[in-house]
Symmetry: C2
DNA sequence: GCCTGTCAAGAGCAGTGCTCTCATTTATGG
DNA sequence: CCATAAATGAGAGCACTGCTCTTGACAGGC
């Protein structure tokens, strides 16, 4: 799960620990200015409208000079993608942190709502990370860590919920669905990556209730992003009018199906 | 729901009933050739790589001549979008038609699997219709009719299922979640648009089980596309390895939650 | 003080969408 | 049958893009 962010250092994207030289300082500053201008332009015209030349114009520099800081347009886009993942992850984290720890359902709902709110505020950045992969495509490995923040947040909340089998009312809990071994294996790997190996139930729960729940949690993550994408991209345009309420309804359904109390 | 496809005739996209002149015939032919070449190019390089000039080169004509048939690159893309919607809709319809009528769950599953199979076979076309809207965005009204085919297919299957309340085992059915009035209204409008006004339960089912089911059906449509997008765009790359099995698992969960027998 | 590495700027290449003009071909009405 | 009108193709050209290469200026380390 954890990837190497070290490769970034090769073209000095992230802030080095100590910008010793004045040179390095002004370089970092200009790098930020470029990516800020690019983000502004992205918000205006979308990822297709992002032009290195236009960014250079806005900053009053030659287009060729920008290449000193970002080796290509795609690298600039990658930087913006990482920024977007980080931004939406931070927004969700902050919203979740504001809810009392005991209110698991409230925390879950806060994550979902914050994600949607950020998406509505930054539609083009959202499309950049959750829409179709932009150019010749190829997900840089540097993006997977910031991209995992929100799903990890959701899984952490789920982990605090009482075990699925003994929750409030087992009758109301969603019934089990036959799960292929390969899916079981994937989910076990995911659980081990989160909580360390040997955690959770391999066979402790008679019908694999924990696996069912984890499988549904991954579905919930899909549903969250799918629903926001549908709203933003207009796929339910003449069907749902009050999308905020419909979104909340969906998330409440998921919370109940997941049996988060 | 039903939009005017007539505006298309202005630039002769659809096949007129009778191509009287030889001129009209060769025009329709060339229009097809252009859109075919464009689709081929789209499959190779994605929507960003689609170039009017390259299409013209492939057909051995001047780039300016293409504009006699498609007034802009965006209009060509719109034509491809409509074609893609139609293609995936036809694939789903054909797959569904091959299942015995009585096997509702099998028919539903066939629709889902066919949609995924088409998406894996035509990833760029899928990204075109279900990814982020391409350029300056704006969904042409001509696309909404072909886009509705699959969800309508799913709703038709759902309509054949026995009423939610009296189905196999009410205890196993998913529990109800409070539904805001605005969402209720949207769902009633949707139901009326499908089966005519006055159909379905306004208050006949005590806790609005039909509304719950319809709400979950829209969620299922979101989940289907969201899941395919996640697979295609790599959002679960290091989490799910056997995506085919995981996809089936998801759809089975949905079928059970929807209580399709 | 020199030398080396960093930097900005400009010119230039190949490509794009799109518009305009001009010549040619086709269909139609008198 | 022929003239007029419409439709079509080709070419040049504009403004723009990402990107590369070269040139000249500046600053930091020896």
């Amino acid at each position: 799960m954890v990837s190497d962010l070290n490769s970034w250092q090769t073209h000095g994207m992230t802030d080095r620990p100590a910008p010793r030289n004045a040179r390095a300082r002004v370089r970092a500053e200009l790098t930020r200015e470029i990516s800020d201008a690019a983000r502004r332009q992205l918000a205006d015209t979308g990822s297709d409208g992002l032009s290195l030349r236009a960014v250079a114009r806005e900053l009053g520099m030659a287009s060729s000079a920008v290449y000193r800081y970002f080796p290509s347009r795609d690298e600039l886009l990658t930087a913006l993608i990482i920024d977007a993942y980080t931004a939406v992850g931070d927004a969700a984290t902050a919203a979740e942190a504001a809810i009392p720890r005991a209110d698991l359902a409230g925390r879950w709902l806060a994550v979902c709502r914050a994600t949607r709110a950020w998406a509505l505020d930054h539609p083009h950045e959202y499309a950049l990370i959750f829409g179709s992969p932009v150019p010749g495509y190829r997900a840089p490995t540097d993006t997977i860590d910031p991209a995992a923040k929100i799903p990890l947040l959701m899984l952490a909340i789920l982990a605090e919920a009482p075990p699925a089998a003994q929750s409030r009312s087992a009758a109301r809990a969603a019934p089990a669905v036959s799960m292929p071994r390969s899916v079981q294996a994937d989910l076990h790997t995911l659980r081990a990556a989160m909580f360390g190996p040997g955690t959770g139930s391999t066979d402790s729960n008679e019908d694999g209730a924990d696996d069912q729940r984890l499988g549904r949690a991954v579905m919930a993550w899909t549903q969250l992003i799918g629903s926001i994408s549908f709203e933003l991209f207009g796929h339910l345009n003449n069907v749902i009018s009050d999308y905020a309420e419909y979104f909340d309804f969906q998330m409440r359904v998921i919370i109940r199906d997941l049996d988060i109390i």
